[in-house]
């Protein structure tokens, strides 16, 4: 799928993606020559069709996670299906409030928020946040950091 700015004869570049939470999606594309923007709006069927392909309009900001499609789309999932290898016990990450080299500290309020994510995908979402933090040298995860990550990564659907 490509969008062509007809007056400029230029392929428009992806600029922004918004997921309002009602099953629809808005993807904004901008002409690199004239800066004109257009938004592609998809209805829930079209959004689900794209999502079902396991692709992200505008490109991926984080690598595709193992079983991402199944874990984000299956209804009636078994909450204890997965054991996450990097999913250390909460007590271990909070012990003494002293960061272990290279290890991310999850603040209790961040963990509370993570608890609201369905357990079937929680480990996957936690790893995405952790990778984002590690790449930026962030050693403490707070709800504010999660907000920044969500916006930057386009994780509105997670």
């Amino acid at each position: 799928m490509k969008f062509l700015c007809v007056p400029c004869d230029e392929v428009m570049a992806f600029a922004d993606r918004q997921v309002p939470g009602d099953g629809t999606l808005a993807a904004v594309f901008r002409c690199p020559s004239c800066d004109r923007e257009m938004a592609m709006l998809t209805n829930p069927y079209e959004t689900q069709l794209v999502s079902g392909l396991g692709i992200k309009i505008g490109g991926r900001t984080v690598p595709e996670q193992p079983m991402e499609l199944l874990r984000t789309n299956l209804d009636g999932a078994r909450p204890d299906a997965f054991v996450e290898t990097e999913d250390l016990p909460v007590a271990a990450t909070l012990a003494g409030d002293v960061p272990i080299a290279g290890r991310l500290i999850w603040r209790p309020d961040a963990l509370d928020r993570l608890e609201r994510v369905p357990s079937f995908v929680r480990g996957m979402v936690k790893r995405i946040y952790a990778d984002w933090a590690r790449e930026r040298g962030v050693d403490e995860m707070t709800p504010e950091v999660m907000d920044r990550a969500r916006t930057e990564l386009g994780l509105e659907g997670m």
Partner: protein
């Protein structure tokens, strides 16, 4: 009329959708590289014993020392997890994929049963409540792709894929694994089963699957008291073993203990290794290996 450049004439877009699809294919190919032989076990017809044959073949091959994986591609009616005794097992989600649970005999198993809550859970996907036909097939094909590519199978000699009923499901597997090492088509001697399986034979022939073998299941019954053999069906319908040159790789006699044992999570070839049905399955496993080893 103004001329607007076509998709192929303009430069790359920043959507990266083609690149994402290519990346999925590369991930699948990378995973398949560690698997020596992918073998589909299909029919087209339901109720002919594909899953029980898959479970018992997997156990027989592992018992012979091979590294075996078993994938239940029947998303709507999964049973392989229970038949191989791993239902309820938890999967380890690591950086390199999902570690599948393994049976005592070492068969690594993936089935939708492992992901769903409750034995009676119907397969449901999140999405728009009506008109699921618009997108459901796309999600299910993507899920099957993940069940192959996102599972840390490790190095395998054989990955057996239990294919759901319906010739379209054979096509779905061939979309993802276009060159399987072999396809076993399972039928019963009944006319209806043979007629449906004939369609599958044609499909796999047209797809140029390298090795296709026919297994006739539930052919006869042996009286436990007097030992007399009784054919369960009056053979009728198309002669599949002569159909398009397809080889018959074996027959499995009916034994009610096979269903009981396998349904309870113990493959019959392990619980009753000397039973005629077990010996027949071992012979099919040996025949499969002979065919796979052929150049």
């Amino acid at each position: 009329m103004r001329q607007i450049r076509t998709y192929n004439e303009v430069g790359a877009s920043s959507s990266t959708i083609p690149e994402q699809v290519v990346a999925q294919g590369e991930r699948l190919a990378a995973r398949l590289k560690d698997i020596r032989w992918v073998v589909g076990i299909a029919s087209g017809k339901g109720g002919v014993g594909k899953s029980a044959l898959t479970a018992n073949l997997a156990a027989a091959l592992a018992n012979d020392g091979l590294r075996v994986g078993a994938l239940d591609s029947d998303l709507n009616g999964p049973s392989l997890g229970r038949m191989l005794g791993v239902a309820g097992a938890r999967m380890v989600s690591g950086e390199h994929g999902i570690e599948p649970p393994a049976t005592d005999g070492g068969v690594r198993v993936i089935s939708m049963e492992l992901f769903q809550e409750g034995d009676d859970a119907p397969l449901r996907w999140r999405g728009p409540e009506s008109d699921g036909w618009v997108w459901r097939n796309v999600v299910e094909t993507g899920t099957l792709r993940e069940l192959i590519s996102d599972v840390a199978w490790g190095e395998l000699d054989v990955l057996l894929v239990d294919v759901a009923p319906g010739t379209d499901r054979i096509g779905r597997l061939l979309d993802l694994v276009p060159d399987p090492a072999a396809m076993i088509l399972v039928t019963t001697p009944s006319e209806m089963a043979r007629r449906v399986v004939a369609r599958s034979v044609r499909l796999v022939r047209e797809a140029r699957v390298r090795r296709v073998g026919l297994v006739e299941n539930m052919t006869s019954w042996e009286c436990p008291d007097c030992g007399a053999h009784t054919d369960l069906y009056e053979p009728s319908g198309p002669d599949l073993s002569g159909h398009d040159g397809i080889d018959k790789w074996g027959e499995v006699p009916f034994d009610p203990r096979l269903a009981r044992s396998t349904d309870a999570g113990t493959p019959f070839v392990l619980s009753h290794p000397e039973a005629p049905a077990s010996l027949a399955i071992h012979e099919i496993a040996a025949q499969l290996l002979r065919k796979l080893e052929e150049a």
